[in-house]
Subunit: 215 residues, 2 copies
Amino acid sequence: MKKNILIVEDHELTRFGLKTTFEDVDFVGVIYEAASAEEALEIFKNNSIDIVIMDLGLPNMNGIDATQAIHEINKETKIIILTSHNDEKEVLNSLKAGANAYCSKEINLQRLVNVVQSVADGAAWFDPSIAHIVLQATAKSDVGEPNTNYKDYDLTAREAQILKLMTEGYSNMEIAQHLVISVNTTKAHVASILQKLEVDDRLQAALKALKYKIV
Amino acid sequence: MKKNILIVEDHELTRFGLKTTFEDVDFVGVIYEAASAEEALEIFKNNSIDIVIMDLGLPNMNGIDATQAIHEINKETKIIILTSHNDEKEVLNSLKAGANAYCSKEINLQRLVNVVQSVADGAAWFDPSIAHIVLQATAKSDVGEPNTNYKDYDLTAREAQILKLMTEGYSNMEIAQHLVISVNTTKAHVASILQKLEVDDRLQAALKALKYKIV
DNA sequence: ATAATAATAAACTATAAGATGTAATTAAAT
DNA sequence: ATTTAATTACATCTTATAGTTTATTATTAT
């Protein structure tokens, strides 16, 4: 199964280097070249392309927008960012846009070929210069902790409902109107919530609710 | 610069296969072997190890805990998870624990060698079977929006400081004590904060501060 | 110098919040 | 069928907590 590659890179020299590198690789089929994002989209729409190697610093439409556009057309296409930019924002925005790998231009060519091949198979790869950004971002991702860590404070349905509204910043009056009950009732519920959550006031209740993903 | 590798794997067969694979690789120095997490930690503490290849399904202490323990001892050590588990929780918890790469045991040996080498250089690599988990997690990561999207409400340093304390659920009295100023002063600052954030009360202020990552 | 901004504070007000007790309604248990 | 417990609901009360306003001093910029 040969893979067709689209190289998006405005500098002819680099483009030529890339093309030459991949020409001799056995898993590579047709190699397309684009010097701008616009050209890349045109080529992408009219050909069957498996892998895109994308520079970020392009004239007019930038590489991140191009990545997003391509990703929206075909989510199966693997997009490899190849750039010298390496700040956190660029990296994460690329990934948000749909990139599967992020390479520095300093990369060794043989390694680049390996990366392209494994990314074509579905892997994700991140350059040493930015790997920490990705690792930190995933480490921060909130899986496993939603609620499970702490007790769920057996609130009644109504209490949970009111707590939810509290986390949205509503006053007792507003909550009462929302639920079409008296303010007094709302207050009673709130009092009960405060007790159950073992906090002093509604602010702390709301914060705790958000922190532990109650509601 | 040769790299020393520690293989942590309870099945002798797999361990032997790994060892044999890496024995002939030129960037590899000494290869250590452990059949359990406990043994691995023992070896790790007493030797200079650059790369750990870690199985997740170990007896007693599991691979994730072992990863965490090793990472805490030396954050420079690169840890490659090699496993057949591939559910989201395992993957993300591994990365939280400090892993740098995640491989399936179905991986082609030559590719594994490439992965180990590039991870040794600082790269991050994720197997096709779980790459989407990592990519989604990073895509969700909230970078780019912290503050930048919205105005930063030019709070003064003091105001920001007080807002921070508000987001931790402190009352005006408590804030005053913390900062060793009068409650009245605190109130004045709070009033100013409410105005600048265009909200009605401290609850809303705290919520907004958290949402937009002010403070 | 002068103006503007920030930090501090006191006095004032009020209302919104929270505490407490109780009644009506529903569900579970015997 | 009857009791018990739990949930929802409401009113009254009190106060202290929050927020407003105005003012003084200190710092910084023009």
